[in-house]
Amino acid sequence: MATRPLSPHLSIWKWGPHMLVSILHRVTGDGMAFVALPVLIWWLAAIAGGPESYATFAHHAGAWYGMVVLVGISWAFFNHMTSGIRHFVMDAGAGYEIDTNKGWSVATTIIGILLTAAFWAAVIYL
């Protein structure tokens, strides 16, 4: 196997929205596993630990770096949610036509960002 040439098409491709949405789905999903789940457990531990441990959590969560992490987690969630719903549609065998596929790839990515903005607007104003 070693000396035979590989077919050249494997390195000839260009970026498309369907590739972006696929990679973002994996990055946000695995990213949440590494970041959001430890934060979730920390938050639960802080609630169980009493007012002082909750105050420590709230102090870090409310600091600028905490807000960066929380906004990042919320974006990862909404991005993963919208592209996940896209996966359900594709599981059903729909949406494989190139234009439809590209359209929904762009749409799910944008809707994920809009939902993140709407969520934080709700946090601030409700």
Binding site: M1, R26, G29, D30, M32, A33, L37, L40, I41, L44, A45, I47, A48, G50, P51, Y54, A55, A58, F77, M81, G84, I85, F88, D91, F119, A122, V123, L126
Partner: protein, 129 residues
């Protein structure tokens, strides 16, 4: 099934005959996450504030406590499946793959155990908020 090229060794074997259980569980937990995270997120946003008293008062109610417990089990199971898929795609050496899957399974089990313990402690234990 010959012992020639890699393609020749797998041709005619059909599918892997495994994996549909994980595929289905990933979808089941995905729907569960959609419902549970939505419920918890909306509940928390609708609280007057996110102070200690408000959050403890919330988690002492049966439905929020059970929803949080279900969320912890569901979300860690979903993450376990997703991370295992990542390992399956990129870690091919048998020993490394086993070690990575071991860590993922232990971490998911620990996350579920600690999560449930903290929820029980917060909702059942100690002084009222």
């Amino acid at each position: 099934m010959g012992d020639g090229t890699e393609l020749g060794r797998v041709r005619g074997l059909g599918s892997a005959h495994e994996g549909e259980e994980a595929w289905l569980q990933q979808r089941m937990t995905a729907v569960g996450n959609l419902l549970l995270v939505s419920f918890v997120a909306i509940s928390l946003v609708l609280l007057p504030d996110l102070s200690y008293g408000s959050v403890v008062g919330w988690i002492k109610h049966p439905v929020p406590a059970v929803a949080m417990a279900a969320l912890v089990v569901n979300v860690f199971w979903h993450a376990r499946l997703g991370l295992s898929e990542l390992v399956g795609d990129y870690v091919h050496e048998t020993g490394n793959k086993f070690a990575a899957l071991l860590v993922i399974n232990f971490a998911a089990a620990a996350g579920i155990a600690f999560g449930l313990f903290f929820i029980l402690k917060a909702s059942l234990g100690g002084a009222a908020a």
